[in-house]
Amino acid sequence: MDYRTSEGTAGPRGEDLLPASVAAAVKVVIVGGFGVGKTTMVGSVSEIRPLTTEETMTQAGVGVDDIAGVERKTETTVAMDFGRISLNDKLVLYLFGTPGQERFWFLWDGLFEGALGAVVLIDTRRLEVSFDAVGRLEERGVPFVVAVNAFPGAPVHPTAELRAAMDLPDSVPMIDCDARDRASSRDTLLALVRYLQSLHTVTPETP
C-alpha cells in the first residue's frame, strides 16, 4: 500500500468539494459480475471522477483454504469503485460498484446496510453471474431493479425469457440500459427510485 499522506496534497480537487450545507448522504449499490459495466455506469453518472475505496476482508473458512492447516485466515483487499451525485444542496447520493468477485459482495460489512436499493446489472451473454446476486439481495431484503446492459453483439432476449431464466418475480422491474450513456444510467437509477416509491403504495396486508 502506498501512503500518500506525506505529500499533504491528498484530498478532493477544488471542483470536487461538496458545499458545507450538505447534511446527509444516501447510497445505491450496483451489483454485477466482472466486466458487466458497473464501473462504466458509475463513471457515466458521477459528478466526480470515480474513486476507488478498499476494505481488508479477513476470510476464515471461506472457499478452499487451510487444507494444510497453515493459513488460518486470509487477508484479502477488496477494491470498489464509487461515484457521487449531488441531489440538492443538502443531500448527496453515492453510487458503489461492487467488486467483481461475487463472494465478496456480501462480506463487506456495511456495504448494503442502509442502502436505498441496488441495481443488478446484467450481460445477457453471462446471466449466471447475476443469479447469486438476486438471491442474496432478496435474502437481505434489499430492493433492486435489474438493468440489462446493451453490449454490442450481445444476444437480444425477450424480457419474459430473461425473467424466466433469472427466476425474477414479476414485481421486480427489468429495464434496458446502456451503462456508457449518462441519460440511460440516470434513467436506470430513476427506475429504481420509482420502484422504491411503488413499494410504499403496496398495502402491507396483501399477501
Binding site: Y3, P19, T53, T56, V62, T77, I85, G114
Partner: protein, 120 residues
C-alpha cells in the same frame, strides 16, 4: 501460544471461533461512522497530530464521505474508521450520519432523490 512446536493441532475450537467471528450473523457493534457518513473537520491539525489524522483534518474542510477519505488516503475503510474514531473522541471532526434507510425509505427522501436525478 504453545512453543512446543510439533504438536498436532486439531484446530477445532479455535477454528470454530474464527468462523463464528467472521460469519455469524452477529449484530455489528454500533459504529461511529459508515461508508457514506459525511465527515467535517472542526479543528486544524496541530503539531504532533499523526500524519494520517492531519490529512483527514485538511481534506475535510468541507463535508467528505468516509469512502472518499479512504480513496484519497489509499487506506482501507476500516483503517479510516479507526483514524476517525480518534478524531471524533477529541471532537476534532463532526459526523453527519447517513439518512437511515429503514425497511422502506421515507417517501420525501425518495422524492428528493427523484428530483435530484431528474436534474442531471
Amino acid at each position: 501460544m504453545s512453543a512446543t512446536g510439533k504438536a498436532w493441532d486439531e484446530g477445532g475450537p479455535e477454528r470454530l471461533y474464527a468462523v463464528d467471528q467472521n460469519h455469524g450473523p452477529q449484530p455489528s457493534p454500533p459504529r461511529p461512522v459508515e461508508l457514506v457518513s459525511l465527515i467535517v473537520a472542526r479543528a486544524e491539525p496541530e503539531p504532533g497530530t499523526a500524519p494520517e489524522q492531519a490529512a483527514v483534518l485538511r481534506m475535510c474542510q468541507f463535508p467528505l464521505s468516509v469512502a472518499e477519505i479512504s480513496a484519497y488516503l489509499v487506506l482501507p475503510v476500516s483503517t479510516v474508521t479507526v483514524l476517525l474514531a480518534g478524531l471524533l473522541e477529541d471532537g476534532r471532526v463532526e459526523v453527519r450520519a447517513p439518512v437511515p434507510a429503514a425497511e422502506l425509505p421515507d417517501p420525501e427522501l425518495l422524492q428528493a432523490v427523484m428530483h435530484g436525478l431528474q436534474n442531471l
